[in-house]
């Protein structure tokens, strides 16, 4: 059976059936039914965590994490799919970068000396609890390694208003036992980082 459609604009009333629409060059015409993450949020599978105050990202990758750290506990039964992060930098006098740094060695130790952050369901006021852990401070099992860049600070005296919304869209996922944190390299920037993720059964 070959899937056919019909080219051209048509208006369809509720409950009416009609042929799939094709574009002028035969592509299947599509449109968003809702916001990209709406379905996962309404199902209660998306979560948010944020630092509640600015902290220093550090000048080098370190096992003493003092910014947002996400941990998928061993045995959680779920994978953390990172969707978006937001970063606001408050101060910096050294150029450098802020990166996602990870600890993903099988069998590694769990984070210790932790300070927990509240995890909220993205369907505010309702929804499931998270099986992940979020920290504003933690001692990692080893010095983490950079896995993805998040922000560059290009001057020793930056003066701008900025918006850093990283649409990770699943480009980083945490398997049970893995840890992700956000740290600085060279820069002495301070700021707030927040994350949004989906929890899925592998």
């Amino acid at each position: 059976m070959i899937l056919e459609g019909k080219a051209g604009q048509r208006n369809v009333s509720d409950n009416a059936e009609d042929a799939l629409r094709l574009g002028r060059y035969g592509g299947l015409a599509v449109m968003d039914a809702h916001g990209r993450y709406m379905d996962a949020v309404i199902r209660g599978n998306v979560f948010l965590a944020s630092q509640q105050a600015a902290a220093a990202f550090g000048t080098a990758l370190t096992l003493s994490a003092v910014t947002l750290t996400l941990y998928n506990p061993t045995g959680s039964g779920k994978i953390l799919v990172l969707l978006q992060t937001t970063l606001s930098i408050a101060t910096s006098t050294l150029a450098g970068q802020v990166v996602y740094a990870v600890n993903d060695t099988a069998g590694q130790a769990v984070p210790s000396a932790t300070t927990a952050l509240t995890i909220r369901n993205a369907l505010l006021g309702a929804g499931n609890g998270s099986v992940m852990r979020a920290f504003s401070a933690a001692t990692l099992p080893a010095i983490p390694q950079a896995a993805r860049v998040l922000a560059g600070i290009i001057s020793t005296a930056p003066t701008n208003v900025h918006s850093i919304v990283d649409d990770v869209a699943g480009g980083l996922c945490l398997y049970p036992g893995s840890i992700l944190t956000v740290q600085g390299i060279t820069t002495n920037a301070t700021g707030i980082i927040a994350a949004m993720w989906e929890e899925v059964v592998p």
Binding site: I2, K6, L22, G26, V30, S88, T159, V161
Partner: protein
Amino acid sequence: MSKGPVFGPNRRRKRAVVLARARQGIVGDARRAPVRLGRLCGVGVQDVAGQYADGALGRRCFVTSLQTAFNLSAVGATTSAPLALGNPEGSGVIVSLLQIGLTVVSATTAGAIVYVTGTEPFPRQPFPSLNTIRPVLLGGEGRPRAQASTSFQAAFPSILRCPAGVISAAPQGALLITDRIEGGIALSPGSWLFVAATVGNINAGISYLWEEIAL
């Protein structure tokens, strides 16, 4: 015995591989044609309309905006909302946030712009404190269930997201910040969200775009 379709509980489902065709070429309006495949066998797709057009035409999308920039309240014991978006209890909808627009007009202290929420229920607001909500289909008949309040206050709300920052006490330049939340945050009935800051001297314009989904 008939080979026609079998209906009822004993119906056998027919299975078929659906095919499409790799090709290029123009399909005239009202002509039927196979759906297009790309060279790597993916289905060729294209947007039929703007991202939020279906929600707009379905009278589900709404906007509200400050009419002039306001000082963002510093998160603390009493945190005032220049413009809060709330989903009143009993609304019958979920408010799915699509975009928040921010325009920083002035700042005399460096800090972060944040979205906050809390556990206080969002009451149905009295009339004088309401900010106008418009359907995205301007002039259309959409009836929002959400409310936008210019007098809402919260005690020690918590930070959800930090979409922007001011890195200097005297920032320069012009910038529109469009935070594409894309439904990643939703308000169930009784919950709320607003824009605040970690410091008290950031002056900004704010607008919200959302879709209301029936429960």
